[in-house]
């Protein structure tokens, strides 16, 4: 029996303490003994990565600032399918908005049997903002929309090889793949406590801004007007001559700037996944920089320039053309099969004499000197243009195991040597630019998000020949146009050029029928402002027509005449002054 209030109070105190002890014990267990376990569980619940939606990539503009590649805001759609009440109704509503078959949507929106957990499924990617708004208007809580970007090609397939694309893995072609590190923006993501709507808790935001850095914009040297024009001309030429492909390349020899470059076959960059899915990856290779070809007689200008620059010959040098020359076990003949008698350097270029240039390489220069110039003109090595997939071509050097004496006799007229159209145009630029060979480049300027403009300067690749030799060869090429290759003449302008008709190597020899015809020229003289290379692959016309002068020279003429106008270059007689 408890006697008196003091005893009862003591009893109550004891009971209260006894009741508090388990609570205290639990507190110790939760807060001390199992602290780390519960902490990690709590963090798992609230700790998430958070970020603002991704910034757009840098845009690509032509040299006048016209947009070539931009960004379209799109959305990726997903669904928390365990929250759906009527799957068939949802599928029927979503099918037109997502452009997906209803049956497929039903399958996607159906919850797997015996599933209790939250199930989220991606439905489709990159729907336009208008469709996204319609989904928002539905007010279905189980629909999720994630902002994303899609590349937009303002001119469609124009300059597709130049612009290229980049896939989800960061691999691709063209300028975009080469300049990826500049184009791609930087997303700022952090891990921290988030609220129920997955936005960061206020104290997390003290860590600084989360606005992602947009990518750097690029301004190219390409002129979209010239590009559109040469693509039209190339398509027309391919159709007219029933060719399988071709390339037209326009360069400024003074800077190395590429004003336009078009190649066929080509592709629509925004549809690259379809091409990849259909096994048409070969379309992505740019024939202008990635596919070497034997240039044929166009290379004779390089041989003549090398011979002149070496000092072994001068403009008065001549030889007796008997129509054939045997060297290294091969018999070299002129393409016409005829003998031309006494000929000088001008005659070699005028009549495109294989025997003449073979004489220069074998009898005048020799292997060491000839290949020194071939390397100096950049053949067999990449030019370093800002595009992915540039090929270095194929040049057999005397030090190579597979080189033979016959190479020295055939290489001077572009046989047994493979170059890219870009290499060929770059080499001719050196002749047009007083012997100074500029590095071809296509990115004129980078525009950083903070407003900085960084112009990309032109680089000199080298001086393969002297200014005097270059001017002499340019004059000879102009003389050829004025007297022989009249198909390339541009009324009112003095232009220089050289044609080429190259056989196509096959296993064990050359294709007896198919050829690649080309023409490379520049103008207007005396201060050439553009170099144009035209290459037409496998024209399907009568044999008598399958010549560079017949097919490629008129295309050159057409392009040159229009470009002189587009670039505002007055005719030669006006430029010379009163």
């Amino acid at each position: 029996m408890l006697r008196g209030p003091d005893a009862r109070l003591r009893l109550i105190t004891v009971l209260l303490i006894a009741a508090l002890l388990p609570i205290l014990g639990q507190l110790v267990r939760l807060q001390v003994l199992e602290h780390s376990q519960y902490l990690s569980e709590a963090e798992d619940l609230v700790q998430r990565q958070y970020a603002l939606p991704e910034s757009p990539w840098g845009v690509i503009m032509d040299r006048n600032g016209d947009l070539l590649v931009g960004n379209v805001p799109v959305y990726d759609v997903g669904a928390e399918i365990n929250m759906i009440t009527d799957t068939h109704m949802a599928a029927a509503t979503l099918a037109p908005l997502l452009n997906l078959p209803e049956a497929e949507l039903v399958k996607m929106l159906t919850l797997p049997p015996n599933t209790q957990d939250l199930v989220w499924r991606p439905l489709t990617r990159h729907i336009p903002a208008a469709s996204a708004q319609k989904l928002i208007d539905l007010n279905w809580p189980w629909i999720t929309l994630a902002p994303a970007w899609e590349r937009y090609y303002a001119e469609g397939a124009l300059a597709s090889h130049v612009l290229g694309f980049v896939n989800a893995e960061g691999m691709g072609y063209g300028v975009q793949a080469f300049q990826l590190r500049f184009l791609r923006g930087e997303r700022i993501a952090r891990v921290g406590s988030v609220s129920g709507d997955t936005s960061p808790m206020p104290d997390e935001l003290m860590g600084g801004s989360l606005i992602p850095y947009p990518g750097t914009d690029l301004r190219l040297t390409i002129d979209r007007t010239i590009q559109a024009y040469i693509e039209g001309v190339l398509d027309q030429a391919i159709a007219d001559y029933k060719a399988t492909g071709g390339t037209i390349l326009v360069m400024d020899p003074r800077t190395g700037n590429i004003l336009a470059v078009a190649s066929r076959p080509h592709y629509e960059p925004y549809r690259y996944p379809e091409y990849a899915q259909n096994g048409q990856d070969m379309l992505f290779r740019d024939p202008a920089i990635s596919v070497p070809y034997e240039p044929g007689s166009v290379l004779k200008v390089v041989t003549v320039a090398a011979a002149l620059d070496s000092g072994r010959v001068d403009v008065n040098w001549s030889y007796n053309d008997t129509g054939q020359l045997e060297y290294g076990g091969v018999l070299i003949r002129n393409s016409s099969g005829g003998a031309y008698g006494q000929q000088d350097l001008q005659g070699i270029l005028d009549h495109s004499l294989n025997v003449g240039v073979a004489t220069l390489s074998t009898r005048v220069m020799g292997a060491d000197l000839f290949y020194k110039y071939i390397r100096a003109f950049g053949f067999g090595q990449v030019t370093g243009i800002e595009m992915t997939g540039e090929a270095c071509g194929l040049v057999h050097l005397p030090t190579d195991w597979d080189w033979s004496d016959s190479n020295l006799a055939t290489n001077p007229f572009g046989q047994g040597i493979a170059v890219t159209p870009l290499q060929m145009a770059t080499a001719v630029c050196a002749i047009a630019n007083d012997g100074v060979m500029m590095q071809p480049h296509i990115v004129a300027e980078r525009r950083y998000p903070d407003g900085r403009l960084i112009p990309i300067p032109s680089n000199e690749l080298g001086r393969p020949i002297s200014a005097q030799a270059a001017q002499l060869v340019a004059e000879m090429m102009a003389h050829s146009v004025e007297t022989i290759a009249k198909e390339a003449q541009v009324p009112g302008y003095r232009v220089a050029g050289k044609s080429g008709t190259a056989q196509i190597p096959t296993t064990g020899g050359y294709d007896p029928q198919q050829v690649i015809v080309s023409y490379v020229g520049f103008g207007p003289l005396p201060d050439p402002q553009i170099v144009i290379l035209v290459k037409i692959d496998r024209p399907d016309v009568p044999l008598s027509m399958r010549w560079g002068t017949q097919i490629a020279a008129p295309v050159f003429q057409k392009v040159a005449a229009r470009l002189f106008t587009l670039l505002g270059i007055p005719p030669s007689n006006l430029r010379a002054g009163p």
Partner: protein
């Protein structure tokens, strides 16, 4: 100065307590100061939370504006693309210039 009193609880006489007025005032002061500081802290935290939310919303607005801006850029590019310009030019009656004749004005 002190106050002396005696009370009983459930008939149990409590022992006499001597409360110092100064101590009571000090205690009261501490409580009031602490309450004020706590209120100020809470106000500051609330303000920070509000500001942080505003910043977050504004950052979202920047991103949305960026998206609108890009959409407008592509719209402009589409409307000024070469095929569209050609179509509109032809509709206006323009024709491609096949040749340009330069006029030599001679020396001034």
């Amino acid at each position: 100065m002190s106050v002396v009193w005696q009370k009983t609880t459930h008939g149990v006489p409590r022992r006499q307590e001597k409360a110092q007025r100064l101590v009571a005032q000090l205690l009261l002061g501490v409580v009031i100061t602490t309450s004020l500081l706590a209120a100020a802290y809470l106000a500051l935290v609330a303000s920070n939370v509000h500001t942080a939310r505003q910043v977050w919303a504004m950052e979202h607005q920047i991103v949305n504006a960026q998206r609108d801006n890009e959409a407008l850029k592509t719209d402009i590019a589409r409307l000024s693309s070469i095929p569209v310009l050609q179509e509109r030019s032809v509709a206006l009656g323009y024709r491609p210039a096949d040749a340009i004749d330069y006029i030599n004005l001679g020396a001034p």
